[in-house]
Amino acid sequence: MKCTMCGAVPTGCEGCPIGSSIFVSQSLAALVPGQRATVRRLAAGSPADLRKLLALGLLPGVELEVQRRWPAVVLKLDCATVALDAALAGAVIVALAA
């Protein structure tokens, strides 16, 4: 697997401009129901999309569980249930929980 930020195969964190310790990550849209993950980064295409993600409570460091991905993505986070479409979910880069 490659790092979604720079495309390099991760060998370590030294010198990475992002400064995160987890490099192998994927978009929330790729997760299946039952999977737990932590939000790493928001890659929203527009300021408006970013505000929607913030409004739902999706912030770096937030832990979530995917409950459903069809007809829209449904997540459990902070004991709340939120729904978002695949396009918005694609902008949330997460790291799977171990």
Binding site: A48, K52, R68, A72, D78, A80, A83, L84
Partner: protein
């Protein structure tokens, strides 16, 4: 939706206290407002019920208290117009106490905004609402501990029962400016401070917040700060150097506040996992999966709308009110009373075929009232259960095809009750493009409950006709929506929604809400109905009516209807439901064949929006859009109606 009641007078007095209720959508602000002021604001179980600011005043201990209820907002960095409206009400330089209403079980989601509000330098009180649900889920927070840490009063409330409301009011009236403003930590605060100092506005908490929002990319705040702070460009450059953009800054600030909030909550929230209600979770799964969700929609439509609104409301109740109450009781009394009037023209105005009683009152009370009441009752049950957000999710993909998102479900479904009300609610949609498409589809393809009820009532003898009528409407909805989505410029919509818990509707609220809506509706339509009957009476007297009807006859004949149908179309200009009620009369006199009935039903459903709807369209969308919708709806109605009539007449058994 809420309707603004009695705007408070502007003058201020020393004994006047002002409270503004602020908080995320669907946490119970309107319910608290109702408890405090005794004024009913529509309360539902879905985010975005209130679209307008409501004000109420009452006296408490010799002081006048003004309470302001605002539309919900997830954050002060606003997404939609309603959130901007709410922010302006909360964040301004008026002396007022902010009551931050939060959901007790979801403190980690709302506390960051509390911290943001504290930085305003105004008295703040936190109302931990829905405490009963939090207790049931064993997630009730330690309010005393939280209050001590925050440095402001934290009061637990259950707005639906009134628990804690008095304590909240007492705390709010005694609240003082907090000592700790909870300003942002190190890397952020110097930038904000620099902007504030350059503008010379150290004493204004509102400006400090504006500076933070401007740096986070809020356009309105940026204009304000840019004008006041000469160093804006340098500060923005410093921000971009560290966080690359306003968005990067916004995420970093939100993350920092969340961290502060979580630290504050350590020990305040009880440990242990979330005790979810297994039954509710199962229901949720059934409502959200397309396999079971679509059959559930069909059941709701069949029993709630077809059987209850169309069957009980539009047939049983209408028949009784029209045939028993009006024909047997009102008509003879009115006849006897008006016989005493010596002038025949005046007699006609009261009791003639277009008179105030026969057209105005009978249409309003005997035909429209039972149908509309039945609809609002079913709608209130759906709202309060929390089913509508699930329906929004289920239909999101389908609505994307017509340029809308699942969020449009709420105005669209409400449109089946009253298109005028629904057009007001399209304000909750995010982009202008979505609002225009929703306005057009409401005006065109969504029949209001009076139309729906009357049409279903008339067509019920021919199930085939109901099916044809329904299919035509769905087809027009999809085609016109698809075309509008293709040709209207703008970004495609996106769907994001917090799903509220499924809750058992509370009968008291359902009844109060239905009552409030029916009253609103009647205040809106009754004057129009009466005005219409005066105009029709005057038109009849002067011959203008005959002339206007004659002018409509060729158009009516063109789509294959008898000339007697023309007046129903004329009525439709006044109110959609008025036209439908005219059709009801026509059908009862047995003047229409199944083909003609179906044609008339299709045309009158698609036909022009009523005057009230037109006025709201003009107010909300502007004259250009309103006229455009009017022209499009009329053209499409007669084209589609003519086509349907022509097709049906060529099929055996319909003519």
């Amino acid at each position: 939706m809420s309707t603004a009641v009695r705007p408070a007078p502007q003058e201020k007095s020393a004994s006047l206290a002002r409270l503004v209720l602020v908080g995320a959508p669907n946490v119970g602000k309107s319910a608290l407002f109702g408890r405090l002021t005794g004024i009913y604001a529509v309360v539902s179980n879905y985010p975005g019920t209130s679209v307008e600011i409501m004000r109420g005043r009452f006296a408490s201990g010799g002081r006048d208290v003004d309470v302001i209820d605002t539309p919900g907002m997830y954050a002060l960095l606003s997404i939609s117009e309603e959130e901007r409206v709410a922010r302006r009400a909360a964040v301004n330089d008026e002396p007022q106490t902010i009551v931050h209403v939060v959901e007790a079980a979801h403190l980690e989601r709302s506390l960051p905004m509390t911290l943001q509000l504290l930085s305003l330098g105004r008295p703040v009180v936190v109302a931990c609402n829905l405490l009963d649900e939090a207790r049931r889920e064993r997630r009730a927070p330690d309010l005393a501990m939280l209050s001590e840490r925050l440095g402001v009063p934290v009061v637990g409330t259950v707005a639906t029962t009134g628990e804690g409301v008095e304590a909240l009011l007492a705390a709010a009236l005694a609240a003082e400016v907090p000592v700790d403003g909870w300003s942002l930590p190190e890397p952020f605060s110097p930038l904000v401070t620099q902007l504030v100092q350059a503008a010379g506005t150290e004493g204004r908490g509102g400006f400090r917040l504006a500076a933070e929002l401007a740096l986070s990319g809020d356009e309105a705040s940026e204009r304000e700060v840019r004008a006041a702070s000469p160093c804006w460009s340098e500060v923005a450059a410093a921000r971009d150097q560290r966080w690359t953009s306003a968005e990067g800054f916004a995420v970093a600030v939100a993350t920092a506040r969340r961290r502060m909030a979580l630290a504050l909550l350590d020990g305040v929230l009880p440990g242990g996992g979330d005790v979810a209600d297994g039954g509710a979770r199962m229901l949720d799964r059934l409502a959200l999966s397309p396999w079971t969700g679509i059959p559930i929609v069909a059941l709701v439509l069949y029993f709630g709308f077809y059987k209850f609104v169309g069957g009980f409301g539009a047939q049983t109740a209408v028949d009784w009110l029209d045939h028993v109450v009006f024909t047997r009781w009102v008509a003879p009394i009115a006849g006897a009373a008006t016989a005493l009037i010596p002038w025949s023209a005046a007699r006609d105005l009261v009791n003639g075929p277009y008179g105030l009683i026969n057209l105005g009152l009978r249409y309003a009370f005997a035909i429209v009232l039972p149908i509309v009441t039945a609809f609002f009752l079913v709608f209130a049950l759906l709202e309060d259960s929390g089913y509508l957000p699930r329906l929004a999710l289920l239909l999101d993909r389908a609505l994307k095809k017509v340029g809308l998102s699942g969020r449009a479900v709420i105005p669209l479904v409400l449109g089946f009750g009253c298109n005028t009300m629904a057009t007001l609610v399209t304000r909750t949609l995010e982009t202008r493009r979505e609002r225009v498409i929703a306005t057009l589809l409401l005006a065109l393809a969504i029949p209001c409950s009076a139309q729906l009820g009357v049409v279903l009532g008339i067509l019920s003898a021919w199930p085939g006709a109901v099916v044809v009528w329904g299919l035509v409407l769905v087809l027009v909805f999809l085609t016109v929506g698809r075309l509008a989505a293709l040709f209207l410029p703008g970004a495609p919509p996106s769907f994001y929604l917090e799903l509220p818990r499924l809750r058992a509707p509370r009968l008291g609220n359902v009844l109060r809400k239905t009552g409030a809506r029916v009253r609103w509706y009647f205040a809106e339509i009754l004057p129009l109905f009466l005005l219409a009957s005066v105009l029709l009476w005057a038109g009849d007297l002067t011959g203008v009516l005959q002339w206007a009807t004659a002018a409509l006859v060729p158009l009516v004949r063109l789509i294959g209807l008898p000339a007697q149908a023309a007046p129903a179309f004329l009525y439709g200009f006044f109110r959609r439901d008025f036209g439908a009620a005219g059709l009801y009369d026509l059908a009862h006199r047995g003047l229409l064949t199944p083909a003609a009935l179906t044609t008339a039903a299709v045309t009158i459903t698609l036909f022009v929006p009523c005057i009230a709807q037109f006025l709201v369209m003009r107010k909300e969308r502007g004259l250009k859009v309103a006229v455009g919708v009017l022209v499009a709806a009329t053209t499409i109605a007669f084209t589609v109606g003519g086509l349907v009539g022509w097709l049906l007449r060529s099929v055996g058994g319909w003519a």
